[in-house]
Symmetry: C2
Subunit: 168 residues, 2 copies
Amino acid sequence: MKLNEAKTQFISSWGAFGTHWGINRTMAQIHALLLISPDPLTQDDIMDQLNISRGNVNMNTRDLVSWGLVDRVLIQGERKEFFSAEKDIWKVATQIIKERKKRELDPMLKLLSQLEKVDGDKKDKHVKQFVDTIGGIRKFGNQADSMLDVMIKADESWFLGSLLKFFK
Amino acid sequence: MKLNEAKTQFISSWGAFGTHWGINRTMAQIHALLLISPDPLTQDDIMDQLNISRGNVNMNTRDLVSWGLVDRVLIQGERKEFFSAEKDIWKVATQIIKERKKRELDPMLKLLSQLEKVDGDKKDKHVKQFVDTIGGIRKFGNQADSMLDVMIKADESWFLGSLLKFFK
DNA sequence: ATATATTTTCAATAAGTTTTGAAAATTCAA
DNA sequence: TTGAATTTTCAAAACTTATTGAAAATATAT
């Protein structure tokens, strides 16, 4: 397979993959493009390579930067801004985990501990099932939360790397 | 907080939460409703409690069944079908992991190993960056894949439970 | 200061997804 | 069988989200 064909396939699949994970198609495609570019790219480069508008590129690069996945870089002697993606996939993964934990998991756990305090008689089966379900989800969520904290803190990939290899 | 208020909040938050995870709002809401119902519910019960159409309920319960999160149950002496959700949250999680792995991760890993075979000179920096990126993602993906297999096989929750507690 | 390059914003529009509801199909009892 | 209850289907409508593109804002060189 030729490089260009492979690039196109990767970008398009990464985009489709992203949509299953709450990331919009274009944002994932720009990320993919930057991941495989040896050098930083400008807005215009991205517009040209993906055939999308300037506004779209601007908006999605901004999001990628806010997710900590892409950096704005200045190249001396150049007037335009350049964008460059973090290439270490472990860092990418921990960054995504960190953000999603903060944006989604933590607020959900907070809500669940509120809901668990519902008033009513535990002998009422509706109350009982509600409290049990919420409690179970909260317990599970807290475990996941702790595990993710470990991953995030383990920025030396050898640690988790060896842990995971243990399971192979 | 009263049970009904708490129920409503849970259902609506679970629905919003689901949308961040590629699950549609209504499917997540039906799932939430069934999780907190002590007894199985019919299509009509779900329609009434969530104020949604019959077609919508039918479509989304079907998806929940195909994800293995909800069972159709027959109640003797009743003509209608009833739906009941798996209440053990560990089982719910492993079921979701299993399905998403099958539907998303496995195909992606298959594609990546194709793409890694791209032809061209490794001394060309474009080829090199492409191969390195794809390789890195594939390696990471394979590790994640192995870890998930362990989780899926560990259907006795004490195993993962203790593993996770280890990290607390 | 002025002109030019570049980035940002955002209202309008396009594209994509979900929901409805009524008709068709199926199931079941008598 | 027949007919009533129930479930399924799916085209059209409603809703949601993403994209465009041109105007406004900002930055930089001369």
